[in-house]
Amino acid sequence: MTALWLTLLIPLAGILLLAFVGHLRAAGWINVVLSGSTFITSLWLALTVFDGGTLISPGRMLYIDAFNVYLVVLTALVSLTTAIFSRPYMRHEVETRRLSGRRMRLYHSMYQGFMFTMLAALTTNNVGILWVSMEGATLATVLLVSLYRTPEAVEAAWKYFILCGVGIAQALFGTVLLFFAAERVIPVRDDALLWNVLYGSASQLEPTVLTLAFVFLLVGYGTKVGLVPLHNWLPDAHSEGPTPMSAILSGLLLNVALYSLVRVKMLVDGSLQNNLAGHLMMGFGLLSFMVAGLFLHRQRDIKRMYSYSSIEHMGLMTFAFGIGGPLATFGALLHMTVHSLTKSAIFVTVGHAAQIAGTQTIDKIRGLIMTQPSVGWGLLIGTVAIAGFPPFGVFVSEFLVLSATMKSWPWLTVPLLVGLAIAFAGLFRHLHPMVYGEVPEGQKPVRANMLPVMLQLAMVLWLGIAIPVFLAKWFEQATILIAGSSPL
């Protein structure tokens, strides 16, 4: 239990500590140390859960089972690697006069604040607290998006704030309806919002009210996941904020939103006989997958392009969770992990590429491999991995999702494959001139720490070739939880 409390308290302490000392040069290192310790405690937590099964805190406020513990570890890991990347990156930003020291205090404390809210959202047992921490995550990042104070950044932050605010409000209405339905069935008023209690009595919940609740929650958290009709804030927020923030936003926040959506779907499936929730998620997922793939072709800004790639992959995961079979769920879980690792690695290299070229517009970034091979090759291999080429893990999860779709919905594999091909064409069409070609004059390599990229791409490669046994067992437990039966 102490591991659980520590995992939450360290980021909380981080917020306060860095609020005072954020502007110092050592702040970057403190940030890394904090994220590192969170990662270690999350590993410790994972081990305890792995042996002891689901864990409920004494006050029944926190609830850890196989599903969210692996997300906690993933969040902590990616936040550690991004912290390592952000230290040199932010110092370069401060040196080149784009950011003042005072704003670094805000940046570092909000970084830890963002960590805290996400870990809280993952570990909480109470649906209400889940909503509060999601809202908290939005508030923490909105100031980061407008950190550079350029007109575009302010515009992106405003849109991000309003759209996510409205989205989250829908989710609140959904939570209220959920509570309304649960309160009639569960005698004790206070634990009518606790996940474990709700799962226990899922079958008695009133179906009509739950469907309405699911619709509101789908639109609410769907905005945070970036499903297509509601995705407009995502490309702006990712491209205008500082790159470490985009890496976390793209890699982790979308996962947490999808996690909450899947939690609700597990509940709704319990009470509803028909698979309405699954069909809705599949519809939204496929729509996002196709539209985002097409969007990739028209991008001017490198970070916007990769944020559309995130929308596309989130669409694929929502589609997979929508199908719901054990195979699809296992594939979706694997895809969540692999996508986070690869996407944050890509955003790290994109950050360095933007610093090398001095701009984010794709037409002005040239000859990366020649200027700095580590950045150039990192971006190239990262994009090859995210495009779903075999030796890397993304192919394995796409392979599983495709085979699951082939079993249950054979005709849906055609749009999936067409979408994959279009997305691949869009990504590589822009990547090619950036990575290859002669070095434009005056372009010098940048001080860059490519360790996190190497680490994460190696992990994705390892997952691609052979999924380790303990990870497979981990995913299997989570799949049994979500889909009811094991894929093995």
Binding site: W158, K159, I162, L163, V166, G167, Q170, T211, L212, V215, L218, V219, T223, V228, P229, L230, N232, P235, L276, L280, V291, L294, F295, H297, R298, I369, M370, P373, F389, P390, P391, F395, V396, F399, L402, S403, M406, K407, P410, V414, L417, L420, A421, I422, F424, A425, G426, F428, R429, H432, P433, Y436, G437, E438, I465, A466, I467, A472, P487, L488
Partner: protein
């Protein structure tokens, strides 16, 4: 010690060659010699493994604890993959001999990273060999796309020129689409068979409709990778830009892996073959043959010409397969086996002579830094031994009697000639027409390679660099020599080769082509001695005999030789620009088959301003474009861009519209749900 162990060793050597080249930046000799030695070993072991499994006709199965938790890697080495192991092994061996000499030039130019060249060559060979061993869809796809990605990195190796980048992008895009189509084809089979292992797929019984869908998908996927006509646009772009020994590997072997995939899927996994499939394969094969050679004729870049020519030879292989499919469905397995043997034999031959020609082109490039035929000429005096090997390659690829190209085309003709035994009249008319197309393409191929050899090696040097070229070093000549000797041997002893190959039809169709070598090693009688017989050894003995007699007679009456000026109609002073260039050579054929290409030809006459009627300079510009670009590839590109433009209207930038989107989504969903 079993063939499978040998196969694993060759896989290991391929990986080792990749890894040893990792720090080639500081020690360039590592790349030139270290990884080449490993590659040579890998080639030898591959030939050993393939040969052993073919001769003993045994197939070995194994599981490796990698891959998905419930689908470990299934590997299998049977005669079919053994045969392709030999094809890959032979060419890898030749390339490993050739590479040290060729890479010497790359070592001195500082701007390119040698480590990536060595690493990805190793991965490329590893990927190809692993595809041959794969026994379940997962390993197959992993190896397949590993092969595509590593060859992509090799194609984009010289990425300064934007044309290379465009070619590499097109190549990877089409390889990816091909891969996805194959994955979908496997998906169809897996959904009926239960799991992704090939054994489950073999047991799956599909309805005719689903089997045809699966076949269409995989034919699309493998055809794209092999360079079938409508989907071939990437091949002439990608192969020439890679370093020559890599384009030899790609053109010689990678296309064959696609053919292996097609045979494995259709004959092994699908089982009962429909004649409609065979007809489709035959027609596309004939189209590929004819259009491939016609496009090749118009090129004057040597390596692009050879790449286009691979399209033609793949067409011939597809025709062989198509014929065998039709005969198998018509209940004539003996003839089906003949078609299959013809296709497999041509696969082996094409790998050999195309590899030889690409290595030859590489040697010319290495010696004279010239790739355009119109600037070459008279190389036979500067590179005598390369000229001999290149001549053998040209003879083989044009399908002229004593050499191996002729034997496989002859077998394809014999298979086509058995059309009357079929029941349906339609097939009986279409097959001879396709055979006539094959004859036309064979003759055009001969014309094409007369052009190549005549313009490049014979006549007078057309540019300074070519006039001062120097013979390539011993390693490169050894590589080419090995392939040339193999071409000649496989041409002279076809019966022996067919004895080696007949284990495959035995495994796939359960029928041994007993009649082909019934009359001993001397004669090749595909159906029966009465129907057709060809004895290559006797033909060679006849040629040798005649050479001896004429040599003796010439010795008996020696006559003096004198060198004089060639006939110049009395105008005098002939110079090298008066010779027929490659474009001029192919002009008659271009005017006859004009509708096949998009030809833009301009003749500008620059008049002297003072005397308007006297023409100072006449400039002739010709651009021949492959029609498939304007008909198929650009329209698709436009379609995607247009769709993207329409879709991007969503992101209007005003917050109100965004709010409206989420508002109406909510209302719509609420309305739908209640």
């Amino acid at each position: 010690m079993s063939p499978l162990i040998l196969a694993y060793l060759s896989l290991f050597c391929a990986l080792a060659s990749g890894i040893t080249a990792l720090n080639a930046e500081r020690y360039p000799w590592l790349l030139r010699y270290g990884s080449s030695i490993w590659l040579g070993l890998c080639g030898l072991l591959a030939v050993g493994a393939g040969g052993w499994s073919l001769i003993d006709e045994i197939s070995l199965i194994d599981q490796v604890r990698l891959g998905l938790p419930w689908l470990h890697w299934h590997l299998k080495l049977d005669p079919l993959s053994g045969f392709f192991f030999i094809v890959v092994g032979l060419l890898v061996l030749a390339v490993s001999l050739y590479a040290p000499g060729y890479l010497q030039e790359y070592v001195h130019s500082k701007i390119r990273s040698l480590a990536s060249l060595g690493l990805f060559t190793g991965l490329f060979v590893f990927g190809m060999l692993l595809v041959l061993l794969a026994d379940d869809a997962f390993v197959f796809m992993v190896a397949w796309e590993l092969m595509s990605v590593s060859s992509y990195f090799l194609v984009v190796y010289q990425h300064q020129h934007s044309a290379n980048r465009r070619a590499a992008f097109l190549y990877l895009l089409m390889a990816h689409m091909g891969g996805l189509a194959i994955l979908l084809g496997f998906g169809v089979l897996a959904s009926f068979g239960g799991s992704f292992t090939f054994d489950a797929m073999r047991a799956a019984n599909l309805s005719l409709a689903w089997a045809s869908i699966a076949f269409a998908l995989t034919f699309f996927g493998f055809g794209m990778k092999a360079g079938m006509v409508p989907l071939h646009a990437w091949l002439p772009e990608a192969h020439p830009v890679a370093p020559s020994h890599i384009s030899a590997l790609m053109s010689g072997v990678m296309l064959k892996i696609a053919i292996y995939g097609l045979i494995r899927f259709t004959y092994d996994l699908l089982g009962d073959i429909q004649w409609q499939w065979g007809l489709a394969v035959l027609i596309i094969g004939a189209a590929s043959t004819l259009l491939g050679v016609l496009y090749a004729l118009m090129q004057h870049d040597l390596k692009r010409l050879l790449a286009y020519h691979s399209v033609e030879n793949i067409g011939i292989i597809l025709m062989g397969l198509g014929l065998s499919m039709i005969f198998i469905n018509a209940g004539r397995p003996a003839l089906g086996v003949l078609g299959l043997i013809a296709a497999l034999y041509h696969t082996l031959n094409h790998a050999l002579f195309k590899g030889l020609l690409f290595l030859g082109a590489g040697a010319v490039l290495h010696a004279s830094h010239e790739n355009d035929l119109n600037n070459m000429g008279g190389l036979i005096r500067r590179l005598p031994q390369t000229a001999i090997f290149f001549l053998i390659g040209c003879l083989a690829i044009s399908g002229l009697p004593p050499l191996n190209g002729f034997v496989s085309e002859w077998l394809t003709f014999q298979a086509a000639l058995q059309a009357p035994s079929l029941a349906s009249g339609v097939l009986r008319t279409i097959i001879p027409i396709t055979a006539a197309l094959l004859a036309l393409s064979a003759a055009l191929a001969a014309a094409c390679f007369v052009k190549v050899y005549g313009v490049a090696f014979l006549g007078v040097a057309r540019s300074h660099k070519v006039a001062h070229a120097h013979e390539v070093d011993i390693g490169m000549r050894a590589g080419m020599g090995l392939l040339a000797v193999l071409c000649v041997i496989f041409g002279i002893f076809p019966a022996a080769v067919i004895n080696l190959i007949d284990a495959i039809p035995q495994m796939l169709l359960g029928v041994k082509p007993v009649s082909a070598t019934a009359q001993g090693w001397l004669w090749l009688t595909p159906i029966s001695p009465r129907v057709a017989s060809y004895s290559a050894p006797l033909v060679v003995i006849g040629i040798v005999l005649f050479a001896l007699i004429s040599y003796v007679l010439m010795r008996a009456h020696p006559v003096k030789f004198r060198r004089g000026y060639p006939w110049d109609c009395g105008f005098g002073a002939l110079n090298s620009r008066m010779q027929y260039t490659a474009t001029a050579f192919s002009m008659p054929i271009r005017r006859i088959f004009a509708p096949v290409w998009d030809i833009t030809e301009q003749i500008e006459e620059l008049h002297n301003p003072t005397q308007p009627q006297r023409t100072e300079i006449i400039r002739h510009q010709l651009h021949v474009q492959d029609k498939s670009w304007s008909r198929l590839y650009e329209p698709i590109g436009m379609l995607v861009i247009a769709a993207a433009r329409r879709v991007s209207r969503i992101q209007t930038g005003s917050i109100h519209t965004y709010l409206a989107y989420s508002f109406f989504t909510l209302l719509l969903l609420l309305w739908v749900v209640t």
